[in-house]
Symmetry: C2
Subunit: 233 residues, 2 copies
């Protein structure tokens, strides 16, 4: 039986052997929820970059681009960090560039893996169906917040471990995430409403985003890493 | 009201501001349980060192010494990593040297703090009484296992947060630890028996140690860091 492990932060990913494994990167609020939504709504390619400068350079080549720092959209970019932005029909078939505080870092730190998928509650059913079909060892790589673990990504990791219940739980981070998810699965908001991120964002008026990002399996699209960008699997 | 935060691994401690705070270092299985037991049974000083070589050098000066790697005692040392070893009356009033895989690292990475206490379930009541009296911000620093979070230290951190319920929970690691503890507080062994460490140690015959290390408030002694060693608070 394949194994599932969980890395609670990009600052711990150096402790994990990624070779030969499928890594699922998650940043529930909101980078990977946006990426899932974008690919589901017909965006052709997403180029995630580490810095605002790289993002600006890609924008200068004609791409629409989005830059977020500390959960806020930066000036001078078309796209923000709300999943609803990525439902825009004018984005269908286009290539976009994005940079975010945590999510893009988790992707770029996972490139030693056999395959990198982008996960969120919005595509969790499709992700788990795919992982079950592939029968490879899995690591859920939580983007966290500036290096620290967070509640929402941990709950997603736990949900994957709970759904793939026949996979072997390798280590304590996966065990902690799985038991945490099982405790709160009928009311994720119960825990999430006490999380640092939701408290941090209380004044940004994104309650609608938060609720949307916790919906299960709204989409079947799975963004997958190919060389330097995300495309539909 | 003071705040409580939790660092799930020494590999994340660089993300925390320790200045002015009290850090409680915990390595339930078994380094800080041994240290608590030793100080409670009259050991005068414990010198924790990072390497086996340093430990040997201190042993050569006439100290009794213990070295553990991967949960196993190393050859040529008097002391092992079982709390029962430290109840030996011949250790009363002596200075001992120890090196362990995780616990000593967590201590030496906490020295920027206002004060470092050594915690375990064995002295958790005394630790919390002291923290409540001091009214300073607290960080529970979990030793984990080779850089990764583990179940037993996370449960201890959550127990401290639950007991100090009036302290502000700063961040998601503390929230995760606290909810995890509250879920399992009536049967810690329920979760701990599935942990990587207990599975790892299944063949070492240390069930007695495991059970002892999960006992609450057997002792009131608190080891505290002074310059380069632990003494009774």
């Amino acid at each position: 039986m394949p194994a599932i492990d969980v890395c609670l932060s990009p600052d711990l990913i150096h402790l994990y052997k990624l070779e030969g494994k499928i890594v699922v990167v998650v940043d529930v609020f909101r980078a990977t929820s946006c990426m899932t939504t974008a690919i589901a709504h017909g965006v052709k390619e997403i180029i995630p970059v580490a810095t605002v400068e790289e993002c600006k350079a890609l924008q200068a080549t004609g791409l629409k681009a989005g830059a977020e720092r500390d959960a806020k959209k930066l000036e001078g970019f078309e796209l923000d960090n709300s999943p609803f932005t990525y439902m825009d029909p004018s984005l269908v078939g286009t290539t976009i560039a994005v940079t975010t505080t945590n999510g893009t870092l988790a992707i770029t730190k996972s490139t030693a893996a056999h395959q990198i998928l982008v996960g969120s509650f919005l595509n969790i059913g499709a992700i788990c169906d795919y992982l079950r079909k592939e029968q490879k060892d899995v690591i859920v790589h939580c983007a966290g917040w500036k290096g620290k673990p967070n509640v929402e990504d941990t709950l997603f990791a736990g949900a994957v471990a709970a759904i793939l219940d026949e996979f072997e739980v390798v280590d304590d981070s996966a065990l902690l995430a799985k038991t945490q998810y099982n405790q709160y699965k009928n009311n994720l908001m119960d825990l999430v409403s006490h999380s640092a991120h939701v408290k941090r964002l209380a004044n940004l008026g994104i309650q609608k985003d938060i609720a949307f990002c916790l919906e299960h399996s709204t989409y079947t699209a799975i963004p997958v890493w190919e060389k330097d960008r995300l495309v539909a699997l």
